[in-house]
C-alpha cells in the first residue's frame, strides 16, 4: 500500500476511535470495538477507561486481546473483579458512559442480532449469542455500534432482537436507563438515529465513497441527511499507530 492509502477496515476503526474521549468510561466488546477503543486510548484519549466483561476495569492491553479474558487484560488493569460484579456494580448501576458493540445484523432502528439467522427453533445459522451485549445496550449511557456494511448485515428488520436499539418500530426504549445507539460507524460511512423517528440516517461517507454505494449496501431504503459530510482522512499518525498495534497483536498471537 502506498503512502496515504488505507483500507475500508482501517478508516472504520480510526473513525470509531475518534468517537471516544478522555475521561469516558467505555464497556468494550471484543473484535472491532476493542481495536477502535484501544486505538483511542493509545492516541488522543490516554485516560479513557476501558472495561471488559471479563471483569477487567481500566484495562491497558499492549496487544489486542483475542478473547475477552486474555491475561493481557488482567495484567494491565486498574482492578479486576468477578463477572457478577462487573454486570451489577459497574454496568447496571450506571457507571458506564459508552457501550461499544458490534453484531452480525443491525436494522433501521439500531437493533442488533447476534443470536440466529433464520428462526430460533431451527436456525439456518446458529450465531454465538448475545453474551454481555443486551445489558450493555440498555444500561450504558449511550451505545456506539461498529459493523461492516452490506445487505447481509444491514437488514430491514433483524431476525432476532438480541440487543435493543430503538425497538421493532423505533418507538422508544421501554424505559431503559441508557439513551441507546447514538452513532453507527461502518466501513463506508457514519449513521445516526434521526432525533424524531430514531431511524438510522446516513450523515457522512468516508472519503471516496459514493452515497449510492452506501445505499446499495443497505437492506432498507436508507435515509440520507440533508447536510452530508465526508469524514476526515486518516492521518499518517493514526494509520501508523493502528498498523503497529495490529502487527504487534498478530505476532503475539502467533507465538506461544
Amino acid at each position: 500500500m502506498s503512502e496515504g492509502e488505507y483500507t475500508a477496515d482501517e478508516i472504520m476503526s480510526i473513525v470509531a476511535a475518534r468517537q471516544l474521549h478522555d475521561g469516558q468510561v467505555c464497556f468494550v466488546g471484543i473484535g472491532l470495538p476493542s481495536e477502535a477503543a484501544n486505538l483511542a486510548r493509545l492516541s488522543h484519549a490516554p485516560d479513557v477507561v476501558l472495561i471488559y466483561e471479563s471483569g477487567t476495569i481500566g484495562a491497558r492491553p499492549e496487544v489486542l486481546p483475542l478473547s475477552i479474558g486474555d491475561g493481557e487484560l488482567a495484567e494491565r488493569a486498574d482492578l479486576v473483579v468477578g463477572v457478577p460484579e462487573i454486570f451489577s456494580y459497574w454496568l447496571q448501576a450506571g457507571r458506564v458512559d459508552i457501550g461499544f458493540l458490534s453484531a452480525a445484523q443491525i436494522d433501521r432502528y439500531g437493533n442488533l442480532n447476534s443470536t440466529v439467522i433464520g428462526s430460533y427453533e431451527s436456525p439456518a445459522v446458529r450465531l454465538p449469542g448475545a453474551g454481555g451485549a443486551p445489558e450493555v445496550a440498555t444500561s450504558a449511557g449511550e451505545v456506539i455500534m461498529m459493523l461492516r456494511q452490506s445487505k447481509r448485515t444491514f437488514v430491514d428488520s433483524v431476525d432476532f432482537m438480541s440487543s435493543v436499539g430503538f425497538g421493532r418500530d423505533g418507538s422508544g426504549r421501554d424505559g431503559h436507563p441508557g439513551k441507546g445507539p447514538t452513532v453507527v460507524i461502518t466501513d463506508l460511512g457514519v449513521l445516526e438515529p434521526d432525533p424524531a423517528t430514531h431511524e438510522l440516517t446516513l450523515v457522512a461517507t468516508h472519503p471516496g465513497i459514493e452515497v449510492s454505494e452506501v445505499l446499495d449496501s443497505t437492506g432498507w431504503d436508507l435515509a440520507v441527511a440533508d447536510h452530508m459530510t465526508v469524514t476526515e482522512e486518516p492521518t499518517e499518525a493514526e494509520l501508523t499507530l493502528l498498523r503497529e498495534l495490529k502487527a504487534k497483536t498478530a505476532s503475539a498471537h502467533a507465538a506461544i
Binding site: V80, L91, Q92
Partner: protein
Amino acid sequence: MAEITTLSSAVEGLVRDGSSVAMEGFTHLIPFAAGHEVIRQGRRDLTVIRMTPDVIYDQLIGAGCVSKLVFSWGGNPGVGSLHRLRDAIEHDHPSPLEIEEHTHAGMAARYTAGASGLPFGVLRGYVGTDLRKHTTVAPILSPFDGEELTAVEALNPDVAIIHAQQADRRGNVGLWGITGVQREVALASKSVIVTVEEVVDELDLRGPNPAVLPTWTVDAVAPVPRGCHPSYAMGYSKRDNSFYTRWDDISRDRALFARWIEIFVTGAPDFTTYLSAVDDGSVTTVADV
C-alpha cells in the same frame, strides 16, 4: 474438608450420567483436563452449564456426553463458531441438543442467587429482547418503587468443576486474576471439584483479585498442572491462542474431530498424552497423524 485426590477418582465419584455439571472459568482457568476426563469416563445425558461454552463444551457436545446446554455466549472467542455446538443445534449431530440461553448478566445473577440460597436473582435486563420469549425468565415488580425488573431462576448444579492456581495441603483453594463466576458456581453447587496447578504448603496469592475457597466448601482437589490448557492460569501459563485458532479446522469436520478425541482423550490414559502433544505440536496437526 476437601479430599486431595486424582482427577479420575474425583470425576468417577461425583459426576454421574444425567448430572447437571457447571465447568466454569471465564476464558481464564477453564478446567479442560476435567472435561477430557468426563469424556474419557463416557458420561452421558449431562446437562452442562457454562456462560461461555468455549472449546471445552464443544468437545463434550461433539463427544456425545450432553443432552442439554445452559449458556450465554457460544462462540470460539476471537475465532468464530463452535462447530460441534452448531452441528448439534443445526443438525442434531451427534444427537439433539436442548438449549437454555441467557445473557451474561442473567447467568451471573443466576449463579449469585444459587450461591446465596435464594430461589431467584433480579436484574435490569432481557426487557425488549426476543430472548425473553425463548428462555425462562419472569417479570417482577420492585415492591419498593414499582420498577419492572426481570427475575431469573437460581442455578444450583449437581457438580461444579473449576480450575485454580493453588491449593494447600488441607484443600483450601486459592485463585487470582479473572475469576469470572468461579466463587459463585462453587458456592451454588451441591458438590465441587477443583483441579489446581500445584499443591503448596501455604497459599501464595500473587496477582490481582485474589480469592480463597475454604477447604470445607470443596469436595475434591486434584493437582493437574496445565489442566486448563488451552485456557491459561495467570502466573503459570499463557492462553494458547493458536490452539483456539486451529480448533476451528479440527472441529469443523466430524471425522477429524472424532479422530482427535480418540487420539487425545478416549484413547489416552490421562491428560499427559494431550500435554505431550501440545508440547511437540502434534495436538493441532492431527490430520497428518
